[in-house]
Amino acid sequence: MGRIQLESVTKSFGDVQVIPPLDLTIEDGEFAVFVGPSGCGKSTLLRLIAGLEETTSGKVMIDGADVTPVSPSKRGLAMVFQTYALYPHMTVRKNIAFPMRMAGLSEVEQEKRIMAAAESLNLTDYLDRKPGQLSGGQRQRVAIGRAIVRDPKAFLFDEPLSNLDAALRVGMRLEITEMHERMKTTMIYVTHDQVEAMTMADKIVVLRAGVIEQVGSPLELYRAPRSLFVAGFIGSPKMNFIEGDEANKRGAKTIGIRPEHIDVVKDGGLWQGKVGVAEHLGSDTFFHIHSTGLTDTLTVRTVGDVALRHGDTIHLNPREDELHRFDDAGLRIA
């Protein structure tokens, strides 16, 4: 079990309130991702759940029990840190065994769990090495192994992949997702990378300046972002925002259209523009179009390789049913 609830939790450092009153429930077995720009309070929130930071007010509940005054070691949670935080003076085996030794498990049981974890994480050959002799990816696996063997109520991940290179990151992302599918244990994952959030989460919590902007499944956030901030943060490349006449015409202050929801046509389109930079990814091409009449440059995503050259004049047709409308306060107009 691992149902985590935050009730009117606040956190201040000195006179600065970084988390205004916040309520959130993460259901048992859910994979929740806290996402937001640097300094939005996502790591602080995770540390409040872990108990590494004390709440200024409010309650943290795990499975219905108030754990606010409980020390991190007694909350039954496991955490994977961005910097791995392995014990450098211990071998991989001892690192993984450490939490079990602290919990007083028998040697036999410890060894059994170490072997199981090592096998699932491809660490069997490295058990007698020290962390200093491992690569970044291997170190992160050890950190995950150390978390798994505890059989915790929930896993907390604090940007665990941000120190890894891009290729390794994609691999580890899949492994963690698979691990969740297998174990069905509650996981809370903090990241600033919206791709990680979209691909891994059951539930995404978008944070901005300590305030929850929106909570929902990845597709809910993608399809119906509640605010300009969420609309801009979720999705890659970023959603195009257009103000002025085009927005006013549709009864909004700002309208948003995702790059994949704009069709490029030779003529007869709604907007006209000139092709700027093209980013060829092979499977897709992102064109940056300087549109005449609209204020900003628009990003357009086309499938495959499209024969457009720098400076070509083209027409754009936004799909009307995919347009998002936002009011003066930046909130979605239903």
Binding site: A50, L52, P72, T83, A85, P88, P99, M102
Partner: protein
Amino acid sequence: MAIVAQSSKAGRASRATLAWIVGLLFFFPIFWMVLTSFKTDADAVKPEFLIFFQPTLENYLNMTENYDYWRFARNSVITAVFATIFALAVGIPCAYAMAFNPSRSTKDVLMWMLSTKMLPAAAVLYPMTFLTKSMGLFDTKFLIIVVLMLINLPIVIWMLFTYFKEIPKEIIEAGQMDGVSTWGEIREILIPLAWGGIASTALLCFIFCWNEAYWTVRLTTTDAATLSKLIEGNRAPEGLFFGRLSAVSTAAVGPIVVLGWFCQKQLVQGLTFGAVK
């Protein structure tokens, strides 16, 4: 290029020469002390026996036979060892708390600790003497251990604090998440990780305790007297017993010089820690 290489070569040579001069300057008094310790008291003050003289072990034999050198040495070892152990026992948890759970006043506390070193010892000499006498602690090893521990505690805590600050906070937090108690964290994680730093600190503390003279001379008579007291006891106002005094001094600093020699690496690391990096 050639000119640059040459001038840097000359620079190196002159720096080396300077280093040797400074080194010899520091070494000379010690050399002279050792040399004098092998002269008779009479020879020690005669200019004709400045370098060439008939060496004798008389002073050393006299010291062990008449002055009970070993009792003083034993007291020095006991007080320095226990004062160091107690200073670490208090200093490690203290520095741990300040390094990993700092509060707004941590910096002030550290400054306050250091400020106690700024107090002239003479200012509290009389209160200390009266107090220890009235409490029946005067001339006890216990008193010397406590005093040595207290005067070195600020330095010990500062050094340990600096070492502990180098340990990533996440490792300590990982320990907390792994279900370790506070003592477990200190024992299982902190001490193994900061072992080098703790060893340098212990070594320096031990040396400071060994060399301490102000309090050990004034708060002891016989029972708890250390080697500093032995040296002081051989100081004659007329300057007659230079040979004897030198022998006693050599025997007092000898053990610590040997210890320092073997732990050079640790010491240098301890003294320059945090200077670079």
